[in-house]
Amino acid sequence: MEFFANLPEFSTVISQIFVGLSRSMILFMVAVGLTVSIGVLRVINFANGTFYMLGAFTAWSVALWVGGTAGFWVALLIAPLVVGLLGLAVEAGLLRRLYNRPRLMQLLLTYAVVLLFNDVTKLIWGVDFKSMRAPLSGYITFFDGLLYMPSYNMLLLISGPLVAAGLWYFINHTMTGKIVRATATDREMVDALGLNSNKIFAIVFMLSCYLAGLGGALIAPTTNIVVGMGMTILINAVLVVVVGGLGNIWGAFLASLIFGVGESLGLLIAPRFAIVFPFAIATILLILKPTGIMKSVW
């Protein structure tokens, strides 16, 4: 068991980079949900990982109910919506009461929500291993075998930029998006213009939960759907958000790429220490650029 594995072939490195990119996309969806809620609501939502998990569970149920390959596509539509609505309930029922309290309180409240939802999920879905069918199977090859990856990862690879672009359009070119940006910097003034900032907050929180749910629904076919699956990705997503600059969507995108590709390549170089990579990357980046690689809204 040497520290360094044998140096891999070039095509393996290329494939690994692309696989890393596709992994980044899932991380990005959870992280961007977090960063949006941080940017606008100033709330760090530890429950985001749990919403990701709920996205996967809901997708599993929906896919089972619909059946067949179509099941996945229906689940992809419905599951994030369900999670989004659940997020709305959490915002309106709990979080809204804490906006004027110290941030630490909100952070811990969302953590308590994690505990609660984990047990509720166990009550609803039971404890069996759950697995869901992917809509695409098999591998595809590009460039004479230089790049070789599962077709489903291609789907992930495309979905990430799509979500990012959609979000960019929403934030910059729709009226709601403009109001969201305004709310992010000055909530009181938005109210003073006659716009209900509570509603904007609710929309943003719902959006952030929707994105987490979307991430969960997308990852569901490749993974084991279990209670607690949100914890690993949550801590990585939190680090991505911080490294990217709190509240900065593009920062989150960039940081997700760094994390995903870094981890994938790290696997090739020193597989035994793969688990250390995300934290090491985050620590180094934060030491170099303490407030994140992109401009933070704070």
């Binding site: 305004a182 910097t185 213009l193 006659g194 716009l195």
Partner: protein, 234 residues
């Protein structure tokens, strides 16, 4: 008509306003004068219910608006321009106006649009695409007023609109505010700059330590030297 009746307002534990009563009638400019810390901004914040009064009432056109959510009050036709402008720094000048127009769509008779705004404040036309955060103080003040107007309000609350502006800009702004009254707006201004404020106002309130010490016309104030000396340090 905007009526404030005997309001008491607290910030946390500190008692700021002690039974303030004032009114703004339709089509007039009313000026609240007082020193730093006298409670001028708090009056504005109480009316808009950012900091709702714990006692007393605020009526707008006869309706009790005390403790209504801020956005509902704004929707009724009250627009607030805060003392530090509070332009949305990440939005361009145009976007700042856009969202205000969106908020005020289908409201009021005055029907402000961007063209009309640019006519009133010509410098804004050139700044269209600049981010609000990069505008100078005078430009921001114009933008803040313009933004408030885009919501087609009937009443305008201007909190220290002249503070920190160069004399030339002050003169310009005074003219523009005067024009707004002619457009049919009723305006409540708080000011420290007594000279400029008196040029504008129909009626004046002087407040100190959270209480109204004087009310009357500009002429009455000018005649009452004791008040001027004691509370306004002119």
């Amino acid at each position: 008509m905007l009526e404030v009746k005997d309001i008491h307002t607290y910030y946390g534990l500190s008692h700021i306003l002690f039974g303030v009563t004032l009114e703004v009638r339709k089509g007039e400019i009313v000026c609240v004068l007082g020193r730093n810390g006298a409670g001028k901004t708090t009056i504005m914040r109480s009316i808009m219910s950012f900091t709702p009064p714990s006692q007393g009432k605020v009526y707008f056109n006869g309706k009790d608006i005390t403790r209504l959510p801020v956005f509902k009050i704004a929707k009724m036709g009250l627009a607030f321009v805060p003392d530090n402008r509070r332009i949305f720094p990440d939005l361009t000048v145009e976007e700042n106006l856009d969202i205000a127009a969106h908020a005020g769509r289908g409201r009021g008779r005055s029907n402000w649009n961007k063209e009309k705004i640019y006519e009133l404040f010509p410098p804004l036309r050139e700044l269209d695409c600049r981010q609000g955060g990069f505008c100078s103080g005078g430009e921001q003040q114009m933008l803040a007023v313009a933004r408030a107007l885009m919501g087609n309000p009937d009443y305008l609350l201007l909190d220290e609109p002249l503070e920190g502006l160069a004399p030339l800009v002050v003169r310009e702004l005074v003219v523009q505010i005067e024009r707004l009254r002619k457009e049919g707006l009723s305006i409540l201004i708080t000011e420290q700059n007594v000279r400029a404020a008196l040029k504008l106002a129909n009626r004046v309130y002087v407040i100190d330590r959270g209480e109204v010490r004087f009310q009357g016309t500009v002429k009455e104030l000018e005649e009452n030297e004791e008040i001027s000396r004691k509370y306004l340090l002119v």
